[in-house]
Amino acid sequence: MNYRNLRDLIRLAEKRGEKIGEIVIAVEAEQKDMTSEKVREEMVTVWRVMQASIRRGLAEENRSVSGLSGGDAKLVAKTKPSFLSRRILKAVAMALGVAEVNAAMGKIVACPTAGSCGIVPAALTEAANRLKLSEEDVILALFTAAGIGIVCSINASISGAEGGCQAECGVAAAMAAGALTELAGGTPKQVGHAAALCLSNMLGLVCDPVAGLVEVPCILRNAGALMQALLAAELALAGVESRIPVDEVIGAMDEIGKALPESLRETAQGGLANTPTGQKLNRDLPLD
């Protein structure tokens, strides 16, 4: 058994009457010559690190070496929301917090990359709290997310240097959207639509980090991507379908990534990095 795109994954899940996450576990176990139990256990370790990074992200200011980031997660966490629900704003704080922990040289799980490490943990923690899920459910959803990530890496890219921010925060959001949809009871097809709707809303996002550091705008993009994931899951669960099949959306991401000029692929030469303020922040950085 194997899969190369989401159509494969959705078909396998439907045929076997299983969740996408279960297919992903079975394939991983088969390819790595491990038991499914062992594969699950490894993900439990990953989930524990994710949770620890959320705790640290909310508890500390987590100032980075450069001084460009830190403190926003705490600020958001203690704010009474004006528009979002209390819970969603808390999830936003979690996404920011994990990304701040990363910038402050703390321990995180790259998901799919270090720059996009806050999105999936925040989404799944919110889902676990809201839907009162067991750890087992969350672990399974992490495999669903991973399946989406693997498919993106095969058919497009999960590197900002290759495909821009859409390949990092965009893919993370699609992973989260699919996992959220499955956790809320969505069908494998709905998981695919959630990933497609989410990625469609993030296509074209460039990688333009100020001073080449994983801070501005990366940390705040984790929050934006989380909101896209929640929105896409909500839409898919309502029955909204992506007119463009998910694998074609991933193909579009690949095409767009290849068309992006090098200045907008993690080189800190264009976009926000190239604004007068971005350039000034770069010049003012301590070098020694």
Binding site: V24, I25, E28, Q31, K32, V39, E42, M43, T45, V46, V49, S64, V65, S66, L68, V101, N102, A103, A104, M105, G106, K107, I108, V109, A110, C111, P112, T113, A114, G115, C117, V120, L142, F143, A145, A146, G147, G149, I150, C152, S153, I154, S157, I158, S159, A161, E162, M175, A211, G212, L213, V214, E215, A268, L285, P286, L287, D288
Partner: protein
């Protein structure tokens, strides 16, 4: 980063941030350099080239390289305090920004190391993305090793027989070779050999090679 062929490549690795290439990769460069030195380092002069020189400070590349030299892994929370720990352990570290030219990868570090038994090494390595690295020069000789495998390294006088002897020892121990490369300064000069293997070599097999090579190192994977 290319196609992921494991779940834990898209949800993982567990690492210290902020960057897989500038932090996790730098830790691995330090780890492998420390393993090649194979005695506690007392002095390290570290040259940073390209993006490592320009954005290394903000990415903690300096701390990551030193953490690796101290034997810490890419998920070790002591990385952010490694410069202080190095000082406490009597490791003197100096950083220099350098332009090695366009032929070198943007994420290149060159480490000049001195061990507590007086051994010296010059190691140049690159961080190629996703935390993956490659050692490209050893004491100025071109080499290629990734740190993903058990690795046998020799520096020896270029003469017939050494490669055959090494492969015989490896075969006798039923160890499978993943990659192998040999380069030399000039005919009859110094040569360097790196063999990456799927399984470890027993210590006595490594010892046998010490009779024919000036320097022999056996290194554990750093992943």
């Amino acid at each position: 980063m290319g196609k992921a062929d494991s779940v834990f490549e898209v949800i993982g690795p567990i690492m210290i941030g902020p960057s897989s290439s500038h932090t996790a990769g730098a830790v691995r460069i330090g780890q492998i350099a420390g393993a090649i030195l194979s005695e506690p380092a007392v002095k390290a002069v570290i040259y940073l080239h390209g993006s490592y020189a320009l954005t290394g400070k903000g990415h903690g590349t300096d701390k990551a390289l030193v953490a690796g030299l101290l034997g810490f892994g890419a998920a070790d929370e002591r990385i952010s305090k490694s410069l202080k720990i190095a000082k406490e352990k009597g490791l003197l570290v100096k950083f220099r920004r350098v332009d090695l030219g366009d032929d070198y990868h943007p994420n290149t570090a060159r480490l000049l190391l001195q061990g507590n038994k007086g051994t010296n090494f010059e190691i140049t390595a690159i961080s190629v993305g996703g935390g993956n690295i490659s050692v490209i020069e050893l004491n100025g000789l071109p080499i290629k090793l990734s740190g993903e495998y058990y690795t046998l390294i020799t520096i020896h006088k270029d003469q017939p027989g050494i490669v055959a002897q090494a492969s015989e020892i490896i075969a006798k121990n039923n160890v499978n070779i993943a990659t192998a490369n040999v380069t030399r300064q000039r005919r009859g000069g110094l040569a360097v050999m790196a063999i990456e293997m799927d399984q470890p070599l027993p210590l006595e097999a490594v010892k046998q090679l010490e009779k024919v090579a000036q320097i022999v190192r056996f290194i554990q994977p750093v992943y």
